[in-house]
Each structure stands twice: as C-alpha cells, then as structure tokens.
C-alpha cells in the first residue's frame, strides 16, 4: 500500500506522505498562505498560537465552519481545506488582538520592533486597533542572567524557546510555570535564568523568540535585522565543527551572529562562543600599523621599515641560529598553504601550530589507521545517530559545545546510553549511565555488548598521548564503531582548522617546549588565548615577530615587531572541518586600510631572502575527509 496521499488546499491538488500534517503538505507544495507563529521548522508542533487554523470542507463541498490547526492536524486522503476564508482571517485577527491585549505589546518601546513576528502578523492581518480591553500585565523582568533577559510581559507563550532548548540544545532548561494568564517561561522548574544550573548560555532561545521577550543584552538596540548594511553567510571560525553562521553588519561593525543551518543536524543553534564571542571579538583593540620595539616601548612604524628589520633578522637566523614559526590553527587553508611553502622555501625554519601537543598526539595516534586507508574519525553530527556514546576524558561543553548539544539530544531524545571514562566527573550530570575510570571496566563491556552504533568522544587530555589515541581507535574497531565517513571517533580538537594544520605546519618533533629560538614568527588569529607553552617559547626567543589582528597582551608585549593581520571578519578562504567538508569562510567587512595579508608578508620576506615560494608538497585538506576503504575493514593495530 502506498503511503502517498492527495489532499486539496484552496482547491489545489497537493500530494504528501501519510503522517504529514496539513501544514507540512502545504509547505511541500509551495503554499504559503497559512500564517504561523509558534510553529518552527525542525521543532515539534504544539499548536499553541492558533494562527495556522484552516477550514475543512464538509460533505457539501463548502467550508464547514470548523477549524483545524494546520501544524498539528494530520493530512488525510481527499481532505479539502481552505486557508483564507473570511471567517479564518477574522478569527486570526481576533487571536492577534487577544495576544496584544493580554500582555504589553507596545511596539514603540520594544527593541524587537521591526524584527518581530507578532508585529508582522498583526500588520499583515490589518490589525489597526485592538477591540479587547488591555490587561496591562505586570510581570517582573527576569534580569538575573548576565547575557540575556526575559520580559514576560512580551511573551505570547509560543514555547519556541522551550522546545529549542530541549530539542536542539538538549539543555532542557526552559519550561512553563503556572497556567493561564499567569504562565511564564522559567528555568529549571521555576528558577530565574541567572540561577539556572542547566543553562548553557547559548542564546538559542533569544534567536527563536518571535517577540521581544528574550533578548540578548549585548546585541539589543544595535540594529534591526532588516536595517543592517550587510548580512553575510559564512562559517564559524572558532572550532572544527564549522557551523554555519549569519553575520549582521551595521555601520562597520558586527552587531549580531545567528545560526542558519536549520535543515542541518545542528538545527540552526550556535554555541556561546560564536553567538557572543564573535561579536565581542570585534571590539578588541586593533593593530593598525606595524610597530617596532624600542627599549620597553613600541614605536609606530611602517611596513617597509618593519619588514626590512624582520628580513634582516631572518637572514641572520638562516646563517647562524635556530628559527621557528608558529601559526594559529584557526588560519585558513590558504594561509596554511602559504606557510607550508614559506617553510619549504626557507628550508631551515621549523614550523608548528597552536594546540600542537594535542594535534601531535592525535596525529601520531591515528597514523597506523590512516595508513590502512581509513578515516580514523567521524563528523560530530554522527553523535545524533549513535546509540552508545563513550565520552573519554572530554569536556565537549568547553572545547566543542555543539558536540555537547548533540550528546544531550542523543541521550535525552533518542535514548542513547552515555558512558563516561575518565579520572574526573562526567560533565553530563544526571544523564550519564555509567561513570568508570578505565575502558577495561566490565560495566563498559556490558553496555557495549548491545551497542549497534557506538561513538567515542576523545578529550584533549587523551589526545596529547598517542598511545591513548591508538588504544581508543582499537576499542572503536573492536566494537565495530564506524560510520560511513570513518571510524566513530570524535576528537575534541578545539581550533577550526586543526585538521588542515595536521597536514601542513604540524612539527613531527616538539621544539617549542624546550629549544631556544633566535628568530620566532607567530601568526595569531586573535580569537583564542595563547597557551602558556606558546608564551614561554616567545619569552625565550631572541627575536619575536607577532602578526596579529588584535593588540592582545601578554602576547603582544613579548614581541620585538608587531605586524597587523586581517581579523576573522576581514578574510576569505576555506577551513577543513570535522564534518567532512572543506567549507568556505566569507569576507564580512572590508579590511582596515594598509593591511597586508599573510601571503603578501611571506612573499616579501622570501624576496628579501632571495628565495622563491613554490607550491607546497602537501595540501591542508589531504586525506582528512574520506576513507579509501570501507571503515568496517579497519583492523586493530599493535600499541
């Protein structure tokens, strides 16, 4: 029997699947005459707002006067509905008037006016006045949280925030308290937001709020979406999950960052780092001109003078001395490739990346498996389809918050089991099934016995040690943990282009920990704090050049020459993501005047050295996306 059904919307024949709601059939057939407010793509429909009502036809073929909420009523074979009869339009307007009268929806002093779904609906329904008496609700604003605030007086109880918090973020922080007119959105069964133990501060609730109820303090009143000068879709440059982001620009600054990938596994959510960290990072002081150290101070210089000095020191180093260069693993593929060819042109210079201990341990640990032709890790979103999740000494809520969301959603909504292996306590309080110190614990084997799709999350402490990495991979192979793209290992690599750095700039042997460099070049993204390892090696170096977009002490204090660099919003390029794709980052703002990119600076330095930059022998994204053999063919290796 076919699952296909045919129904008629405003007389138009529409086809859908059994189990579709009327609204889903309408959307599939390109009908957009059904207004919605509480409905959101990707969330469970609850029919809270009654905006999407449609009128089914009776046996006589005329609108029956009954009303169905399109978002929750299943489509039926042969059903006829009207979406815009006079009765429906009047009913919807009444619903809107009741919403406006119930609480304080006065647009003239609301930060969301112009960006508000409720307002747009009212305007589209010709609501020029409200026929019901206003109730003037007097809820106290919830201003306890440092990032967001809730004005309950503007809430329409659509529960978009409640559902997003549960179904997308998996935090399950938000819920409704009380009933009827006094219902409010509260955290953790009645707490104020600031007192919540479960909130992960991702701000997804504010993004989905259709009114001005939940607003982000830092981003409010900085411009309505439609008044922004530019809206750029790009990739988050922070971690290797590579989430899609939409960046709003107004008067030359980034005023809002939102998730867009509603159809993707992340459902359009963003973590705290992207939503708040990215706009905040644009407010840091910039390095606008090259600067040269004179005694304990810096003097403003120009490119010619600064690069002449750097070039001469580079020459000195090349003839006698140790030279090293560190490049942030947030650099784009293009920057990494330039760096790799610079290294090959100069020859003597050693290179390494930020987070190099983690990357080196990981790289060495996976090498035996890469050699078999299998991709020894998998995309983070595969956590969502796993049935057992083994978290090994990982803190995904810090290193890759989107993966933490995936874990919570998989456990809470898809029934996955969660095993925590590690010396500390599981960061997933309340939802961890088993906490053990070691993989050999019989409790682990007990759960793994029935696992069909296990996945392993490798934390940074383990990644530093290649033996642990290989052991974890062996564990994965023995437990048949694999996905289509590779072995079911999700490494918590913090930086966006960590995978690209593996192939290009990562040193085989550590040198920044111990050696003293006569010449050290540091290329910083300004997005993450430099580790003490990097700072130590800078303090030991004879001559340090720092190329950075932002004037960030203590790193910039240790430089002998500071060169400006393009910030994340001033560059374009690509990033190798864990998700198995080379994703493009777009330029968001024009670079500050007189800025030289990384490639140009490297070219000038090569010219000064009298060497030619060629094509690097390895490309950043080599062998990081796919397996040559089917992942289930992988064999365990000797440790």
């Amino acid at each position: 029997m076919s699952d296909k059904i045919t129904m008629y919307i405003d007389g138009r024949e529409c086809s859908g699947q059994k189990g579709d709601t009327i609204l889903e059939v309408a959307k599939k057939n390109g009908i957009d005459s059904i207004p919605t407010l509480c409905w959101m793509k990707g969330l469970t429909s609850v029919g809270a707002c009654r905006m999407c009502v449609v009128e089914p036809h009776g046996a006589d073929g005329k609108p029956s006067g009954r009303m169905l909420t399109a978002c929750t009523s299943p489509a039926e074979q042969g059903l006829h509905v009207s979406t815009a009869t006079e009765k429906l339009v009047d009913y919807r307007r009444q619903v809107l008037e009741l919403l406006f009268a119930g609480r304080n929806h006065f647009c003239m002093f609301c930060s969301q006016s112009g960006d508000c779904d409720l307002q747009t609906l009212a305007i589209n329904h010709g609501m020029d006045s409200v026929r019901y008496p206003y109730l003037y609700s007097e809820f106290e604003n919830d201003t306890t949280d440092d990032r967001l605030q809730i004005d309950h007086n503007r809430c329409v109880l659509c529960q978009r925030c409640v559902r997003t918090c549960s179904e997308k973020v998996g935090a399950c922080t938000l819920g409704l308290k009380k009933r009827g007119w006094v219902t409010t959105v509260k955290a953790d069964f009645g707490k104020d937001m600031g007192d919540s133990d479960t909130c992960v501060k991702c701000g997804a609730c504010a993004q989905v709020c259709p009114t001005g109820t939940i607003t982000l303090r830092e981003l409010a009143y900085r411009g309505r979406r439609k008044n922004c000068d530019a809206v750029v879709d790009t990739i988050c440059p922070i971690c290797t999950a590579g989430c899609s982001i939409r960046v709003y620009v107004r008067t030359g600054s980034v005023v809002r960052v939102e998730g867009t990938n509603v159809d993707g596994p992340d459902g359009g959510q963003l973590c705290v780092k992207a939503r708040f960290g990215l706009p905040k990072s644009t407010e840091q002081p910039r390095v606008t001109r090259p600067m040269i150290r004179v005694g304990s101070k810096f003097k403003e210089s120009n490119w010619e003078e600064a690069l002449e000095l750097v070039g001469s020191k580079l020459k000195e180093g090349a003839t006698s001395g140790e030279m090293g260069a560190l490049i942030s693993s947030i650099a784009t593929d293009e920057e990494l490739a330039v760096f790799a060819s610079f290294k090959e042109a100069i020859g003597k210079i050693k290179t390494d990346s930020y987070e190099s201990r983690v990357l080196r341990g990981f790289y060495r640990g996976i090498r035996p498996f890469s050699a078999q032709g299998v991709r020894p890790f998998t995309a983070a979103h595969n956590i969502l389809s796993a049935d057992v999740i083994v978290v090994m000494d990982a803190t995904p809520q810090e290193s890759m918050p989107i993966a933490a969301s995936f874990i919570r959603v998989a456990v809470l909504h898809k029934g996955a089991k969660l095993i925590y292996v590690g010396s500390g306590k599981s960061p997933f309080t309340g939802i961890t099934d088993v906490e053990v110190k070691d993989l050999s614990d019989p409790k682990v084997a007990d759960i793994m016995k029935s696992a069909a799709k296990p996945i392993i999350i490798l934390g940074k402490p383990l990644l530093r040690n290649h033996t642990f990495v290989t052991k974890a991979l062996n564990f994965a192979v023995r437990n048949r943990a694999f996905f289509d793209d590779g072995l079911a290992i999700v490494p918590m690599l913090g930086h966006s282009n960590a995978l690209g750095a593996l192939n290009t700039v990562l040193a085989d042997e550590p040198w920044i920990d111990t050696g003293e460099q006569d010449f050290l070049y540091v290329y910083s993204s300004g997005l993450v704090k430099e580790s003490s390892l990097v700072l130590d090696s800078m303090s030991r170096a004879g001559f340090t050049v720092v190329q950075t977009p932002f004037l960030l002490p203590p790193m910039t204090n240790m430089a002998d020459v500071i060169l400006p660099a393009p910030a994340w919003f001033e560059r374009s390029g690509h990033l190798c993501t864990l998700e198995g794709e080379r994703r493009q980052v777009a330029k968001i703002l024009p670079p500050i005047p007189g800025l030289k990119g990384f490639g140009e600076v490297m070219q000038i330095l090569c010219d000064k050295m009298g060497v030619k930059m060629g094509v690097p022998s390895t490309s950043p994204c080599e062998n990081v996306f796919t397996s040559k053999i089917s992942p289930d063919q992988a064999k365990p290796v000797e440790v």
Partner: protein
Amino acid sequence: MAKPKVASVWLEACAGCHMSFLDMDERLVELFKNVELAYSPISDVKIIPEVTVGIIEGGLGNEEELHIAKTLRSKCEILIAWGDCAVNGGINCMRNFMKTEDVLKEAYTDTVTTVNPTGVLPHVDIPALLPNAIPVDRAVKVDVYVPGCPPDADTIAYVFNEILGGRSPKVPASMMRYD
C-alpha cells in the same frame, strides 16, 4: 459647494502626529483647496464647530480630554484616531501600572529635579486624572484607525484622499506601523 470641514485635537500625546501631518508638505496646499481646517491646535478657534471629519491625536488621560473627545464625537460625522496613543493608548499607558496618587506624587513632588517644598498637588486648577490612560475608542466610537508613532505623512495623506474620494479608509498593511 462649501468645502468639507475638518477639526483636529491634540490630547494626551506629543504632537508628533500633527508634525507628521505638516510633513505632508506641498500636498497640504492641494488638501486645503478641498477641505477647510475649522479647528486645530495650530488655529486660534475656541469652540469646536460642526465638522465632517474629526481627528484625535493622543489618548485620554484626564477629564478634560475625555470631554473634548466626547464633544468632537458629537460634532463630527467621521472620527479618526491618529497615532498609537489614540489607537491603543501608547506611551501614556505606562502610568497604568501605578495608582493615580502615585503618578501625581511622582510628577509633582518625588522627581529629583522638582522643587515643591510644601508638597502641593494639583487639585481644582488642573483637570483630574482618569484612573487609567485609555485609547480613544474606550470612550467614544472611532471610525478610522491610523496607527503609527507617528503615522507617516503618506499614510495621513492616503486617509484624507480616501475620505475625499467618498471611501471609508482602511490603512493597508504596506503603510501600517506600530512604532
């Protein structure tokens, strides 16, 4: 034929709607060829005459305003509510969260910049406050609503044109705004 008469009143509001009316600019010349502004805040007329169109800017917050709204309603055929204050109460509603005594105290004694050592509150010399600031249609029937804070000059012009064309105006979605 005599030109139809219009009377406009400025009640509890900021005069922004009348400013927006003046923003009709050169269209005003054309408008006044067809209508006579018989009473308004910018003309020195003491008594509201019988008119075809009455316009109210502002909500109703005291007894005088209530009286003017009722008087205008009785003297006009079509009553227009201009702007958010007249349509839904607007910013005046912010006082609805306090008792009227507290509102008066806040205004006449408690404000930091106020010098009122004996704590005198207005009584007989100023119209008494209504318990709540209300939209016009809570007191009298309104025929045409023009929301906006203020409504655009284009919207105001549109409404006049519709009335002069003999139609009952309804602000279209493209012109509707609440802020």
